[in-house]
Symmetry: C2
Subunit: 184 residues, 2 copies
């Protein structure tokens, strides 16, 4: 049974990004009959941000990395800050072993004030995740702030896009992978 | 007289990235007869990383932002972590007012283990800086780890590239700017 872990890169609580991650993770959980949980960067921001060396992780951070490493499907989303993912979401990946995610599958998402920032999904977040040899669902999910009300998703168009991305992730999860040998 | 501020995005001390920033800042300082100083993300990492809200900055962070805002020329460089700039360098910019750098000039640099990562300068760091309406020297400086010895730059080819970038920055600084009105 696949394990699903969402990562919300927002620094705010409540958060539209977190709502998006939960929506995608819940859909995947239902379809794949698999448990899902969400790591909220906002919840571990201070601990994460003040950790700058490898291998000396405080418990909250170690727990988060254990969950991520045990996952088969990751749902990773960020609000758009300064034309990219948040710095602390990047820092979460900076501290992660480069081999920790090899062969996992991910669905990518982002939230932002206008459609002008949608391409960060392909030019920034997909680039980061691909570095870790993660297979990504080709359909990524960008939701404008206006597609939420009271920090809950209200858009059926986005829900349809989520359904497509979950189908793609299921396809990736259910097919045997190319054997992968990491090369320097 | 132009003021020059370097920002080194490395989390390590000593740091090749910091050496690169200092080399570029020193060259610019000499050529522009201007004072230069360097902000080292490694030196403020814990304070920076644990700051997640705007407007409640600890003194070390406020001082760094004051220096950046008073600068005319910024020298911004990062080591390549996971196919991009460091997360904490991004977090430094995440917390900065979007209007704080309008019209400033920047020289961009990066250090990495192999030439394969050189394009982060144009696809990641220039993108981030351009968000802030900063004019960038078209020549960016990528230096491999093997171009340093004992954390000091040893490459004449890189020094020549630095000279070109400083000339470009001088050109940008000495010409009147297009009047800029920020639009939403």
């Amino acid at each position: 049974m696949a394990r699903i872990v969402g990562i919300s890169g927002s620094l705010s609580q409540p958060s539209r990004t977190r709502a998006l991650v939960e929506e995608i993770a819940a859909r995947a959980s239902h379809q794949l009959h698999a448990p899902a949980e969400v790591i909220d960067i906002a919840g571990i921001a201070a601990v994460l941000g003040s950790t700058v060396s490898y291998g000396e992780f405080p418990p909250e951070l170690s727990e988060a990395y254990e969950k991520v490493q045990a996952a088969d499907l990751l749902v990773i989303a960020s609000p758009v800050y300064k034309a990219s993912y948040t710095g602390l979401l990047k820092h979460f990946f900076d501290l992660l072993d480069p081999k920790a995610l090899v062969g996992k599958v991910a669905i990518l998402g982002a939230t932002g004030g206008s459609d002008q920032h949608a391409m960060i999904l392909d030019y920034q977040l997909r680039t980061l995740v691909s570095f870790f040899s993660v297979y990504t669902a080709p359909t990524a999910i960008y939701a404008r702030d206006s597609e939420f009300a009271h920090y809950q998703l209200t858009s059926d168009a986005i829900r349809q896009r989520i359904a497509v991305a979950v189908d793609q992730a299921e396809f990736l999860l259910k097919h045997p992978q190319v054997p992968q040998v990491l090369v320097a």
